[in-house]
Amino acid sequence: MLQDLYEFKKDLGKRGVFFCLSGPISQNLVAEIGTTLEQKMTLEETSKATVLRVFSTVVENAQNIIRYSDEKEEELSLGIIAVGHKNSHYFVLCGNMVENTKITRLTDKLTKLQDMNRDELKKEYRKRRREPPPPDSIGAGLGFIDMAKKASEPIEFDFKKINEDFSFFSMKIVI
């Protein structure tokens, strides 16, 4: 493991990833990650709007892990978040375990968003903001639409089956 650590870091670097966190995600951590990423991107002279979009996408994903990850240790929710830069765009990767029973619903939601253009996403966001949150939502039920609006490409997602009960849910958002 010790010898592999540098290889692991190099591998992330090759993929353009400059930040990665795997493990328990907490609200406090969300604020710290956000501030550090803001500092880093400001150094790179990234525009204010882009910095805020990346920041926002990391926050929405982290709060999704906190609220919805099906891998938990007591109060703590586990997941992985990575941020990178490739082909002149920042991207955010996010993953956590979900119960297999949730796959169909998540797939429906995300596929619907993939097919929408920016104007349709804006309309959907405003429509949903006026409605009560969906029954399976702990927040406002706007997180995915918000990310889709801020992304420059349709959100990519994947489910990797782990066993009879759980799959690993991954998303990639290109800003």
Binding site: Q27, T35, A49, L52, V59, G139, L142, D146
Partner: protein
């Protein structure tokens, strides 16, 4: 009634609702873990304030650097309540502050402006920081 003052934290905005001068300020970032826990007392205060006959003219300043999607919904509810008060004949002016190069913040402001019918909703570009 008393004014409502809440200090900013890393993920909640500064609230300064002054019922003597009739100026309500919200300033900072908003991405609490549980939005309703943070905003419930604010809505309760607003309800009492807007229901009072002493409230005739109010200015609301919203200067939010960043808010998450569940805070966005809360802000919509907040603006709706202001719109209701304005429909009831109170004079409500809301100022939405945004930074020059933050087109998302401007777009959010424009959307709130479109959604509201009776509030005078101004979009105000902030002067650049002199840091």
């Amino acid at each position: 009634m008393e004014s409502l003052m809440i200090e900013a934290t890393k993920y909640t905005p500064e609230i300064s609702f002054d019922c003597n001068n009739h100026v309500l300020d919200i300033k900072g970032k908003s991405y609490p873990e549980n939005t309703s826990v943070f905003y419930q007392p604010i809505f309760e205060w607003l309800e009492e304030y807007l229901s009072s006959d002493e409230t005739q003219e109010v200015t609301v300043n919203m200067e939010l650097i960043y808010f998450n999607s569940s805070s966005s919904k809360v802000l919509m509810d907040f603006c709706d309540r202001l719109d209701e008060a304005a429909e009831d004949g109170k004079k409500v002016t809301a100022n939405w502050f945004y930074e020059e190069d933050d087109e998302d913040a401007l777009e959010f402001g424009e959307e709130f402006q479109e959604e509201l019918e009776s509030v005078t909703f101004n979009l105000v570009e902030k002067a650049p920081d002199n840091e």
